[in-house]
């Protein structure tokens, strides 16, 4: 187990900067998920921690020791790769035991440890096979076993589940969670899948375009997204976002004249500012068309999810999703109303994209 300190870490290829100064402290034994779209620099950050990528500036410390100049093998990290990176010419046992072999562990002990590790990931009966003769899920487990057997201080996962089918992914997710509880090693998990991120992480690090947008517990990130980007990236369906301005006391105006009431506490300092208004699909409600205070919209199409459904509506040419739990009998084109509780509204500055707090945190806690 080890803590990891990342201070002002940057990465640039020639003049092309991909990571613009990341600061992050990871506690010993913590499960951190780095979430972001492709190309946001999350994998690069992970690879810098692993030692596979040089650090352009800043420093990374593992257990208080700066590792910038250390070779990957000297850092005590194990990594699970996206494509598993199993050695195709070695058996499963040799794949798992390779690190031990390189480290000069005697054959008998190596065997014992490989077998013990194989048991953890339920691979005992596959030890003599080549990776080619394994299914995707089994390969994934070999990759995990290869990391576990070294008893590393830090586990690094580079989108390890993205090559699996949906069902297997859910199963492996649970397995990784259990494994972490059992081994307790500090883990960093990189993914672009927000469901994976929400379910796995003790804390999320949301990255965009080489910067950290928000760090926090999954529920905090979901409930109080720190920026417009986080709001749009975390949560499914994506948060509804409307561009507009605060017109006067408690009124958000979009599209020239349409109004939505916003929490009263924000209005004074924001009057006249351009803002983005966000409402989660789960927070909006469908009401009878023409209900006072509701927004008029028409049904575009309905996504049936089994446990619930998402009604995609069209209002003034904008699309707005509403998640409902009960079955709805609405045809495309039906007129409906959308009701929004002012407390469920998120505001983001149009200029900086940053969150504008509706009210001090205590006030919010009271209303919740």
């Amino acid at each position: 187990m080890a803590s990891i300190g990342i201070r002002g870490v940057r990465k640039a290829y020639q003049k092309n900067a991909v990571v613009h100064g990341v600061d992050l402290d990871i506690a010993s034994g913590e499960f951190i998920v780095i979430l972001g779209p492709s190309g946001c620099g999350k994998s690069t950050l992970l690879r810098m921690i692993a030692g596979l990528e040089e650090i352009s500036s800043g420093e990374i410390a593992i257990d208080g020791i700066v590792v910038n100049q250390l070779e990957p093998r000297e850092r005590g990290c194990a990594m699970v790769f996206q494509n598993y990176a199993l050695y195709p010419h070695m058996t499963v046992a040799d794949n798992i035991g390779y690190a031990l072999k390189v480290a000069g562990v005697p054959k008998a002990e190596r065997r014992r440890r490989v077998e013990a590790t194989a048991k953890i990931v339920a691979l005992e009966s596959f030890l003599d096979r080549r990776p080619m003769a394994l299914s995707g899920g089994q390969r994934q487990r070999v990759a995990m076993a290869r990391a576990i057997v070294r008893e590393p201080k830090v586990f690094l996962f580079d989108e390890p589940l993205s090559n699996l089918d949906a069902k297997l992914r859910v199963a492996m997710r649970a397995e990784i969670r259990r494994l972490h509880r059992r081994l307790g090693a500090t883990s960093i998990f990189v993914t672009h899948d927000q469901v994976e991120a929400m379910t796995l992480g003790d804390r999320l690090v949301v990255m965009n375009a080489g910067r950290v947008e928000q760090v926090g517990a999954p529920a905090d990130v979901y409930n109080r997204p720190a920026s417009r980007f986080v709001a749009s990236f975390v949560g499914s369906p994506a948060m509804n976002l409307l561009e507009g301005a605060i017109d006067r006391h408690g009124v958000f105006v979009y599209d020239g004249e349409r109004r939505i009431e916003v929490p009263a506490a924000v209005e004074n300092r924001l009057v006249g500012h351009k803002v983005t208004l966000g409402v989660r699909a789960e927070a909006a409600r469908l009401v009878e068309a023409g209900t006072p205070g509701s927004l008029p919209a028409t049904v575009d199409f309905i996504e049936e999810l089994g446990a619930g459904r998402v009604v995609h509506t069209d209002f003034d040419g904008l699309s707005f999703a509403v998640a409902v739990t009960e079955p709805v009998a609405l045809a495309a084109g039906a007129a409906v109303g959308i009701a929004i509780d002012p407390a469920d509204i998120h505001l983001f500055s149009s200029e900086t994209g940053l969150r504008i707090d509706a009210a001090p945190a205590e006030a919010r806690a009271d209303s919740a």
Binding site: P72, R73, Y98, A99, V102, M132
Partner: protein
């Protein structure tokens, strides 16, 4: 299913393959057939009929120690030049693959030697390795007469081996480099994470994954060393001194065109062809049996 374009009429198909068939027939089957026929006859050097002699040409050859010598020399030449050409190419490719400085430049420069015709190459190396003025003349100025391919058979053999290897290094290099590039980067990274240093990664990961390429090049190099060596030997040593560099392919030329022993040369060609065919079969059997790693 693979899609295939098919011709509606067989005639069009035949017309398309006719030029290629004609070329293969004129330049391969016809001469080969002729050589096969001559190998079993006694051919008059100036024309005017021949005489069927059965296996006598072969019997004569195989009982001739000079011919066995040329087989031995060919094997020595083939193994040594293959070892050098492949070894050096592999080292260069491994370094280039690690993206040392200027690796882009090496990549193209290393192929050029393969494009040089053997006689031109032989001529160049004759100058480079000349005992009185070449690069190795330095040796002679320190230890007089230590290097002289014109007099010392061993030196002559070394000279032709160097020249031939130099040509094939570039050829092998390209194959090795593309085979190395086909190894997923993440495998190398995984090995680095597992604690293996660069040399260890080459031995444990890269070389085992290169085996199909290694065997392919092994057979190509040995095969080519039997055939493509003619120009180099002819220009550099003409088989000398005292037959020290008389390889099988050079002896065919020498006996046939200088000695005017057409039948003996034809029999030698058949033996050489048999040897090359044998090697090719070994290659196909061996590579086909090998599992291709994925």
């Amino acid at each position: 299913m693979e899609k295939r374009a098919t011709f509606s009429s067989t005639t069009i198909g035949l017309i398309f393959i006719a030029p290629m068939l004609l070329l293969i027939f004129v330049f391969f089957y016809w001469p080969s057939g002729q050589a096969l026929y001559w190998a079993f006859t006694l051919e008059q050097p100036w024309g005017g009929g021949n005489q069927w002699v059965g296996l006598q040409n072969f019997q004569q050859l195989l009982s001739d120690p000079v011919y066995w010598n040329s087989i031995t020399r060919s094997l020595v030449f083939g193994l040594a030049s293959t070892a050098i050409a492949m070894g050096v190419a592999l080292v260069l490719a491994l370094f280039t693959d690690r993206e040392l400085r200027f690796h882009r430049a090496y990549r193209s420069i290393f192929v050029w030697p393969y494009a040089i015709a053997a006689p031109a190459l032989g001529l160049a190396f004759r100058f480079i390795l000349a005992p009185e003025a070449g690069l190795l003349s330095v040796l002679n100025s320190v230890w007089p007469n230590i290097w002289n391919p014109a007099l010392d058979g061993k030196d002559a053999m070394i000279a032709v081996i160097i020249a031939f290897s130099w040509k094939y290094i570039g050829y092998n290099f390209i194959f090795f480099l593309s085979a190395l590039a086909a190894i997923p980067r993440s495998l190398i990274e995984a090995a680095a994470m597992d604690g293996a240093g660069p040399a260890r990664r080459v031995a444990d990961i890269q070389l085992p994954l290169l085996t199909p390429t290694l065997f392919f090049l092994l057979v190509i190099n040995i095969t080519e060393s039997f055939q493509d060596s003619f120009g180099i030997v002819d220009i550099m040593t003409q088989g000398g001194p005292a037959r020290a560099t008389e390889l099988m392919v050079y002896k065919i030329y020498f006996d046939g065109f200088k000695g005017l022993d057409y039948s003996g040369a034809a029999a030698q060609s058949i033996i050489l062809m048999g040897l090359v065919v044998l090697l090719t079969i070994v290659q196909f059997r061996f590579i086909e049996r090998r599992v291709h790693y994925k």
